[in-house]
């Protein structure tokens, strides 16, 4: 960094030498505009560079040894699985009350293998908004009293005990199954799981117990799995199960029939447990297949952007690609794949890499443009789902208990051939077997590899150390601009006084004035605080709105908007009335407000990046430019230059984009076309967010609205001006 040259007014007196870091700070603050422009652009650029900087994944844990053992799943097991598939599909045709029937069939099959079987009855939890439960783990101690006997789900659980294991650890295999309207895919997933299960009852190498959970997905896959996990992790010592059976005799029938039919077997009425879970796999088979290849999709994002250990994904990826010849897929934003600007950006990076290679043959970064586009699409979806904080599958429920879990969705090359069905059973089964055997080798929890990463392809990732750079660059200008604004606001008045009197003759009174002025920011802090309070109120409002019965999303959204405006007006009249009388030095006041807002924004973004990086990153992308550009409309209007016009336009556009509903519609429109966008959608989206206890919601509510003082102020100032003119 060059030596700062203080040209203006430091020449007359040789000052005592200041420390370099202080001088650097002063330099940065004094050139905050340039610095912020450079930092922001480089931050955005770094974000786009991430696919290029992605590293290849590698298996970090020695103990895993995926693929070192040859698969033992034979055709016999496949035939077993096939038998189950047939029975299930037949029973579907046969009776109307298939729900219980198919569960009985599954349980019978498990019992025949010699596994311990139990049913777990659960009642779906209604989506409820708990404003204070965002960061707490799912509430498990709560006992629901008011359930009805009509709506319940039954999970069938089979447990294989490791023959020589200590029974302290377990691996969970989950297959969601909706008995009432199951497609062929679900039956097939059960077939795969069953063939693996039947193999695992025979092997001698199990060190961990195997739990096979057939999750009743009639109330959603997540609900079933989370209900079972809640029960598993928090043993209840009340006599709730007996209470249940008393109240709902028809369910009890099921259990009794079971017990009678297979007396002496390992069926049990009570909830069965194995050890702590080392890992969990959710297996699904998609009904509509791919056209070209057998593909397996990995879903990993859990609530609040938590990811399972990268090793788990690596193991699955390695086994699927190198052993079973399946194509592995992670979620992409499809709309980005065809975007031409991304392609050209990729080409630019590619040619840059070539130039770099000619200069230094050793450096090999740079990937082909098509790969770049794919990587960016994957990265974008990875960011999006992490930012949203909504789990992408039932595996999310496991992450809440710190269990590493992923969802595998097999989409087979579709044909109704029986050979094909056997083939997919064999390969899917061998994949699951390989993963289980690999996890079985583990001695400790997954801990070697990354937990904080973004995937750019199934075999490439960006680790936390790399992606934090982009974020840090993006938010770095915030404190500098805040400092420089604060200094400006204070020193401009100083400067006026300094003109009238000599700098040496500063009296006590002047000093007193300075101290008063230096506390002036409290006033603006109050304003910012009020707006934050408003944000909190707005984000709590849906709790009350959703109590209103029979509300369409549209109307509830309108109610929400109206209530928010009302609350703003009330707050303004009650608390912020002194705001209006500040008229004298509006510009200075404005600078202070901006400075305080920016610093609170900086703190908020910094904190959020620790909780959920992706949310913070997207938030920063939207809000940092807005914060830096925001300026009262009046001042710009008065100036009337081209530059200020540009700034007005930027402000208005950014101001609208950063407004959450607007951003939502814009994104949705971009991805799906504007025709489908609907006001009610936003309500649904928000509803889904709080249903999942997403911290994103809180973040949007508090922080996004926190940035609103700027907007409000920028509109308020001309208004007040007009009021002043009228007087």
């Amino acid at each position: 960094m060059a030596e700062p040259k203080e040209k203006s007014h430091n020449d007359q007196k040789p000052k005592p030498r200041v420390r370099p870091i202080v001088r650097l700070g002063i330099f940065l603050v004094s050139h905050s505009f340039l610095v912020s422009v450079v930092c922001c652009t480089s931050g955005v650029l770094a974000l786009f560079l991430l696919p290029v900087l992605a590293k290849n994944t590698y298996i970090s844990e020695n103990a895993l040894m995926p693929g070192s053992a040859s698969p033992m799943l034979s055709n016999q097991h496949v035939l077993d699985g096939n038998r189950l598939v047939k029975d299930l599909t037949n029973s579907n045709l046969k009776s109307s009350e298939t729900g219980i029937e198919s569960h009985k069939i599954i349980a019978q099959y498990m019992l025949d293998l010699g596994a311990e079987v139990s049913f777990h009855k659960f009642h779906p939890q209604m989506n409820q908004f708990h404003p204070l439960h965002f960061f707490s783990s799912p509430d498990s101690g709560k006992i629901q009293e008011n359930y009805s006997c009509s709506s319940y789900g039954i999970n069938t659980v089979g447990i294989i005990r490791a023959p020589r294991g200590d029974g302290k650890e377990a691996i969970v295999l989950v297959t969601p199954y909706n008995a009432l309207k199951s497609g062929f895919g679900e039956a097939l997933s059960l077939g795969i799981a069953y063939s693996v299960f039947s193999l695992l009852t025979q092997v001698t190498w199990l060190a961990k117990d195997i739990i096979w959970l057939v999750a009743d997905s009639q109330f959603g896959e997540y609900a079933a799995v989370s209900a079972w996990l809640r029960e598993y992790q928090t043993p209840k010592f009340s006599s709730l199960s007996t209470l249940n059976s008393e109240m709902c005799p028809d369910i009890n029938n099921l259990f009794e029939i079971k017990v009678h039919s297979v007396a002496g077997s390992k069926f049990s009425n009570s909830f069965r447990r194995a050890g702590t879970m080392a890992a969990a796999l959710v297996l699904k088979v998609r009904d509509q297949g791919e056209q070209f290849e057998d593909t397996i999709s990995i879903y990993a994002e859990a609530s609040n952007g938590q990811m399972p250990n990268l090793d788990l994904i690596n193991v699955v990826n390695y086994l699927a690609v190198h052993r079973q010849g399946l194509r592995v897929n992670v979620e992409k934003l499809r709309s980005l794949l065809n975007s031409s600007w991304l392609k050209s950006l990729g080409e630019i990076f590619e040619s840059l890499a070539k130039v770099a290679k000619t200069l230094n043959p050793k450096c090999k970064f740079g990937i082909p443009a098509t790969e770049y586009v794919e990587g960016t699409a994957t990265l974008a979806s990875s960011l999006y789902y992490q930012a949203l904080g909504v789990p992408t599958g039932p595996h999310g429920a496991f992450r809440d208990y710190q269990v590493d879990a992923i969802t595998l969705e097999i989409s087979p090359k579709f044909s109704l051939d029986k050979v094909w069905r056997n083939d997919i059973l064999l390969r899917g089964g061998r994949l699951i077997e390989g993963v289980i055997r690999s996890v079985n080798n583990l001695l400790e929890k997954f801990h070697q590899s990354f937990f904080l990463y973004l995937l750019t392809s199934p075999s490439k990732f960006v680790s936390v150390g790399v992606y934090m750079i982009a974020f840090a660059l993006l938010i770095a200008p915030l404190p500098m601009v805040a400092a420089s604004l604060y200094v400006d606001a204070n020193s401009s008045s100083n400067f006026l006084k300094g003109d009238s009197s000599t700098p040496s003759a500063i009296t006590d009174a002047a000093e007193h004035g300075i101290t008063i002025r230096s506390w002036k920011w409290l006033n603006s802090a109050k304003l910012v605080f009020i707006v934050h309070l408003w944000g909190a109120i707005v984000s709590l409002l849906p709790y009350f709105i959703c109590q209103i019965p029979d509300c369409s999303p549209m109307t509830s959204f309108v109610i929400w908007v109206l209530l928010s405006i009302l609350s703003l007006l009330i707050l303004n009249s009650v608390l912020a009335s002194p705001l209006a009388c500040v008229k004298a030095s509006q510009e200075k006041e404005w600078a202070l407000v901006k400075s305080v807002t920016i610093s609170s924004m900086f703190i908020g973004l910094g904190l959020m990046s620790v909780i959920n990086f992706a949310t913070a990153e997207i938030g920063a992308l939207l809000m940092v430019p807005m914060c830096l550009l925001a300026q009262p409309l009046k001042l710009d209007l008065r100036a009337g230059t081209l530059r200020s016009c540009c700034r007005i336009i930027c402000n208005l556009v950014l101001g609208h984009i950063a407004f959450p509903p607007a951003a939502f519609f814009l994104l949705k429109g971009m991805l799906e076309g504007f025709g489908s966008a609907n006001v009610g959608d936003f309500w649904m989206w928000v509803e889904s967010l709080w249903a999942w206890n997403s911290a994103t919601y809180l973040f949007i509510g508090l922080l996004r609205s926190g940035s609103n003082p700027l907007m409000i102020e920028s509109i308020q100032v001309p208004l007040m001006d007009r009021v002043g003119a009228c007087e």
Partner: protein, 409 residues
């Protein structure tokens, strides 16, 4: 009478060469004793835990089997296994360990005697075994009871690096530690020749500090090289043997107890392209040329039967060994005097085969002669000392000749 009186100094004169003879015999016998190969010991160490290090246990057990087959009895093998793979729940074949995917040979058969297992295998215990500084409660079967005539094979395998070998995933043995232990062993006359064989990454670096004489060392790889496993058993699901050990075993499979293959033929059998690393041996101060040393010097135990009249001779040595062990316990604080004293004791013990030899030497010739006579007989039995014996005999004949001619005159 006169003649008798005269004969008194003559008698003294006569005695003098006899004494000379005795002392020279005694001295030569002691030096011969130090050079004599008495027995063979093997210390086989597997230092790593965890299921995925199955091959290290298989390595060690294969070598255990080999040295046992070549004649080292179980009581002279200290086997240290840091983990129990045979009974690991992940083992597809319970209570069996294989070193080849053909599963023809179960290494963990009926007569495997593991001396240190599991968490007992620590650097501390390993060094205690080498130096013989045990707690009193440690049974004899867990001690390396070698003597100055012992040939010891020290085999170690595990995960290592530059000048260290990892023990139990938590501690490490450094090359300094090893060199120091070997030096102590030398000082305490615990071995005559020692072969250190290490199969680990950068194994050669472990020998950097070795300076003691009579120590031969061979490692599986040079500095900066990795040692690789030989093959994966896809049935068990782990690699079952390391390359260096695999080819060592391949060499020994061709041999039996009576083979005379030399160490150099073993060392030259390691092909770097097979090992994927360079086997490195360090001769150091090892005097004999490797072509002349048969591998059975270390890997087998061809015992020579030594006939002794005095049955307590071996007993006395054992006693002194125990004494040594006891003193060593007290030596946790270093006492130079005691150390020297002990050395003197050692020297006494080795030079004078009879423990009370000093006193007897003062008492008279008969007492003293009893013992040398035995050794004399021993030496006489031994073919190699015939030349010196004849020489001494001729020298002894001279005074007799002189005396007899003088008496006759």
């Amino acid at each position: 009478m006169d003649t008798f009186n005269n004969s008194k100094p003559v008698l003294h004169l006569l005695l003098l060469p006899c004494l000379l003879l005795y002392s020279s015999i005694a001295f030569s016998s002691s030096s011969v004793e130090a050079a004599m190969h008495t027995n063979n010991w093997a210390v086989l160490v597997c230092t790593s835990r965890f299921w995925f290090n199955y091959r290290h246990m298989a390595n060690t057990l294969s070598l255990y089997r080999t040295v046992k087959r070549l004649g080292i009895p179980d009581e002279r093998i200290i086997l240290m296994l840091a983990d129990d793979m045979a009974c690991n729940t992940r083992n597809k074949y319970p209570a069996q360990v294989f070193n080849n995917e053909n599963h023809r040979l179960n290494l963990y058969g009926d007569n495997v005697e593991v001396d240190y297992r599991g968490y007992e295998v620590t650097v501390e215990n390993f060094l205690r075994v080498l130096t013989g500084r045990h707690e009193t409660a440690v049974p004899r079967s867990k001690r390396l009871l070698s003597d100055e005539g012992s040939h010891i094979l020290l085999y170690m395998t595990g995960h290592g690096g530059d000048e260290f070998l990892k023990f139990q995933d938590s501690e490490e043995l450094q090359s300094h530690d090893l060199a120091d232990a070997v030096k102590q062993m030398k000082e305490k006359h615990r071995f005559k020749e020692l072969l250190i064989m290490v199969d680990t990454c950068q194994a050669a670096t472990l020998f950097n500090q070795l300076q003691s004489p009579g120590v031969l060392a061979i490692g599986s790889s040079m500095k900066g090289e990795n040692s690789y496993s030989h093959h994966l058993d896809s049935d068990v699901g782990v690699s079952v043997v390391d390359r260096f050990t695999y080819y060592t075993l391949a060499f020994f499979e061709r041999l039996n107890i009576y083979d005379n293959a030399s160490l150099s033929s073993l060392f030259s059998s390691y092909n770097p392209s097979w090992l994927m690393s360079t086997a490195y041996y360090r001769k150091g101060v090892y005097k004999r040329s490797l072509e002349e040393v048969p591998v059975t010097t270390f890997f087998g135990s061809v015992m020579e039967t030594i006939h002794t009249d005095a049955a307590y001779k071996a007993l006395s040595r054992r006693n002194s060994g125990r004494f040594e062990a006891q003193t060593s316990l007290d030596q946790s604080v270093y006492h130079p005097e005691r150390r020297t004293q002990m050395k003197v004791n050692d020297r006494d013990e080795t030079h004078n085969i009879n423990p009370e030899g000093n006193k007897q030497l003062l008492q008279g010739q008969e007492g003293a002669s009893k013992c040398p006579w035995n050794t004399f007989c021993n030496k006489f039995l031994k073919a190699e000392n015939v030349d010196s014996l004849v020489n001494y005999g001729l020298v002894a004949m001279v005074p007799f000749l002189v005396i007899s001619t003088w008496l006759v005159r």
